[in-house]
Symmetry: D2
Subunit: 365 residues, 4 copies
């Protein structure tokens, strides 16, 4: 079973806890001959790492990734070439000083997995959330960096499209803006609105939910595996596996409930170049679980950070009522840092289906 593994041919196993010695992933099934540099992988991790603006947690984690296996170094001493064997990547936790966790070790923080981990396992690593910490997603982002290299021409990008009730204006969408603001917002007009709003949230020690949209261009047409390995199904599964995600949409998503068949139909015509053209993309690039060749579009909703300064009622492991507030440096809106994670998940899903279609080695393409 795949409790800590996802993917079939591009298989990623992650391990590690928030405050353990290290965390990492093993990517099994990466085809041979993929060329990449450590800097390329690190760039994605840097995008996710904390402390980059006042709107994300101020914890210091360098998240430096090492590649331990599965590659040969090219003559340039920089480019790594995959050999088809497992690529093991590790991120050491630089700061794991043993602090006194005191009461927190036995108290159940509302919205966190403390209570349920204890229910299931009877024991849990209470240091920073242990395995249930979003710190695990660093390993996903590393794997995603490799996944992007597997599919020629694949371009997976994401943007934050909603914080609280404040949504972007889709008419303003400009991918070039996404890296020009601390929110990965594609609409520059929303930036001052979000700044002001998140400042108020942050100062109140509160938190707020968000919506992220992922767009994958260059997804080859014809990949996906019906009935139970549909491309949209696997994307939904992986996005839902991200900490704090509570909803996932493909294409029109929930809006499709309000559409008629006429409005929702993505009509087709033969293009002048002899290739089929879709006249719209309500489907989000997937029909019957298989890619159409259009951009694959997915969105996911992230609940507000559960760690807030306001006291909430809870219980502890001994069955006492307690009132808890979670001190420390937390993200007022975890949705921001979820942007590169969502990209990584979609990249991994696409790489996996690409290989299912083309085979393990890529030898014969």
């Amino acid at each position: 079973m795949s409790h800590n593994t996802f993917g079939h041919l591009f298989r990623v196993t992650t391990w590690g806890e928030s405050h353990g010695i290290a965390l990492g992933c093993v990517v099994d099934g990466c085809p041979p001959g993929i060329r990449f540099t450590l800097a390329e992988i690190q760039a994605w991790l840097d995008k996710r790492k904390p402390g980059q603006s006042r709107f994300v947690t101020q914890r210091r984690e360098d998240d430096l990734v090492k590649v331990l296996s599965g590659v040969m170094m090219d003559a340039d001493g920089e480019t790594m070439i995959t050999t088809g064997t497992p690529v093991s990547m590790m991120i050491e936790n630089t700061d794991q000083r043993s602090k006194d966790y005191g009461e927190i070790a036995r108290q159940y923080r509302p919205g966190h997995a403390d209570y349920t981990y204890d229910l299931k396992y009877g024991i849990r690593d209470y240091r920073g959330g242990g395995r249930s910490s979003a710190r695990e997603t660093a390993a996903r982002v590393a794997a995603g960096g490799l996944a992007r290299k597997v599919v020629p021409g694949l371009n997976v990008r994401a943007a934050l499209v909603q914080i609280g009730k404040h949504k972007i204006d889709r008419n303003n969408w400009d991918w070039n803006e996404v890296n020009n603001n601390p929110f990965f917002a594609p609409d520059p007009a929303i930036v001052p609105v979000w700044e002001q709003y998140l400042d108020s949230i942050r100062k109140a020690g509160s938190s707020i939910g968000a919506v992220v949209e992922v767009v994958a261009e260059g997804v080859p047409a014809g990949i996906g595996a019906p009935i139970y390995g549909k491309l949209d199904q696997d994307i939904a599964s992986l996005l839902m596996s991200i900490n704090a995600v509570k909803g996932v949409e493909i294409g029109e998503g929930f809006a499709s409930a309000e559409l008629t068949g006429e409005d929702n139909a993505d009509e087709m015509r033969m293009g002048n170049d002899g290739n089929p053209i879709f006249l719209s993309n309500h489907a989000g690039g997937i029909l019957g679980g298989i890619s159409t060749g259009q951009p694959v579009i997915a969105r996911f909703a992230i609940k507000p950070t559960s760690s807030i300064l306001t006291e909430r009622r809870s219980i502890d492991a001994d069955g006492n009522n307690v009132d808890l507030r979670t001190k420390g440096r937390h993200d007022p809106c975890v949705g921001i840092r979820a942007v590169p994670i969502g990209e990584a998940m979609v990249a991994c899903a696409v790489a996996d289906h690409y290989l299912r279609d083309r085979g393990q080695t890529g030898r014969l393409k």
Copy 2:
């Protein structure tokens, strides 16, 4: 890989096409000693079968299920007892007369999987959509009937909560009403609204989307398998695998984007009986991928039926532009018949995680 299989310990493999000889499923991993009657399974299939009101397709499919293996008959000649070996269930297609499919065999119906199946496989069963037909879901419903028996005390129910822009009033929610109307609506006040609206859709040869909500009560606390076999992840995956589903939510879902941490927190207190009590259920019964013991709540959006009478532009397999309208008896709102399918998917996911926790045989419980 699990292209036509889902689940890990409660594993369901489905097979069959819309207009083939038969369709069915093999349920592998059903624990021994589960007692059920054929009538109980058939009841769920009857709930899904067409022709039960003017609001669903008028095709005639009896969908009579047979159990071919995996059981011993009890002395009463009616109760089947599982032996722990694969339960094979089959539904014969009673009406597969070879009609002339003519042009449809080579034309790509917008919104259907015709184009993508051809892209992927280079060949497809064009008779009624072949494998991509929603007829495959009959096998899921049969498997779900068995899944419900696996978890003692489990009660999975679903209801239609939205058709087009018309949503139920949640204050009116009454489970007893769900089977009193042709829509599985929990709110009797919405029934005349939907009747009138769907009649107009139906008469226009159009179709409309919908939203279904599934509620699973009696899900044991502490099941679910982080990080990549989370209960909510598996539910999202299975719901997204249903034909025409474009969005999935758990608990607050997309609404959580607009909530603050304070509002979203499910606070806890010790109950008078010494058991923990949650004071709300924004999480939808799952934290960190593990069940809390509260009801598990999921919703999914279904796009409008792609088969409509209005002509749409498309192409055929030879690269010609064509204008298509889909004649025949189609569901004006496939969301209605998706209600028992959604139930089945959630029941299977819960049964699977229950067994992951308790083991394959149930021998030692």
Copy 3:
């Protein structure tokens, strides 16, 4: 998990009991465009079916196979073409009259799985061994018939090489002889020896073990998936899963324990045609889990049929000592009918690895 399923991309799920309504298999992952006739599949089943000589059980089972899904019929009305969707095949049990099983239902036959099924499941289908009956292997043989079609140029053949202490003379090996005698013996000189020996075994109501050798020619070089999906590992796994098999060898097998490195080395030279040549095949066509392009050679040992007329000591489900002899029509040497089963298992393993290498659809070759 894959309790009743094997293979990764060419995935076979079998179901059914010895005396149930039917048994069958679902082959998921068969590429589209594979052409075959029912007669071709039936031919392999006929090779396995009982009653073909006095040296195998005289039970009457026609083992007529039906294909229920996953194919389109070609214009000739005979050739089936796979569509890439699951191929469901079924063999109905023609004779399942409800006889009185009496004591046998609670007694544990030595060497059979009666005791262990009860241990594991607490219930078992005692009719003819239920799921543990070798009758299940009919489904494997059907799947193997399809597997043979998947790999162009693949030729999998097997022969019986030992019954009791009587081994064939390998210098006499002639594949043309294999179907000229009731033992699948490749050495005509051994036939009269085995006839006389097995007649004595049969008349005594006894049974005897055997060894089968499988040779797969046309296995493409370079398939196999180290470290834990090695081609030899998967062959060993599948051969060991056959009822009554107690040992498996690849190439030299146990004889390699007595070889020096010099003797065991398969030396290579470049051939006149510019292709590498191996000068021997001690390895059995597999190095490091990957095929070399030479014939893949495997052997397996089958224990004597456990059902014998001589009384053996045992117990029953109530904890009583009993003395048992197994009446009925049993194979004096199950090794004979294991020949086509071994072929099927190797064909399936090769097909699976072929597809892992080349991908799911075969579209791009």
Copy 4:
């Protein structure tokens, strides 16, 4: 797919190359609450490590294992307690100096996986065999150390029973002797024979094959998963996955080909304590793929080390004929160091099936 992973509930993924930075494994599915010390795991690695006698390779590898995740340290600062999350273990390669591999990088050593890795991947790590090196088995042994802790009362031991033509006398079998000689021989009388024989092999720069026998006591009755997850099948699969293994037997193994049904039957009687007793163990503790409660007995044959000093004919990657001899410090009989590896594989298989039966968490036992 599980190319570098084995097991279903006790899932082990290994990674790393012979001369890479490190190698290791991730054990996913280890139940919570398992207590162990690093020293206990290290002890198994020490048993496998080279340089412990003149009969094994003189390479220096300390094989010090680290546990990176999945545990909490007990108050004693020494005992680790598993939390149910992935246990990542790593062994750093202390000596990876970049030496000049010269011709060896392009030459195919007979009997090694050089040729087939190039066939499959088109690239390979030629340093010390890369991923195909037996060095990978260090990770298996670490995982096996944990597996032993999972099943209460499990005792898995192995011994070398044959080197070349020299077999032990089974009447002399004494487990206490196994660790008293450099061969893991259970028969002290064979030790001087093997010493003299292996010295001659070693001095000649030659190598020789061997047979290892593994005995697992304390395997709970009733575990194993027919039809395609049989306990003996999984053991065969894992033993066959060990480098250089060419044959696997359970119980009587190939000898069963020469037994009659009467001789092979393991008769039963009720014991004085009210528990069933088997009067023999020809089956090797497994019937129908399920454990009987008797010791599980498996044997495997290892071919002679392929690296020998005598020149062998081969080719290189450029299609030239070459004559190769493999210099360096090699094991004259790799069978010796395979003893702890075989133990580890059987321990892992048993732990996996134990958990399949009892469930993931062990919470309810």
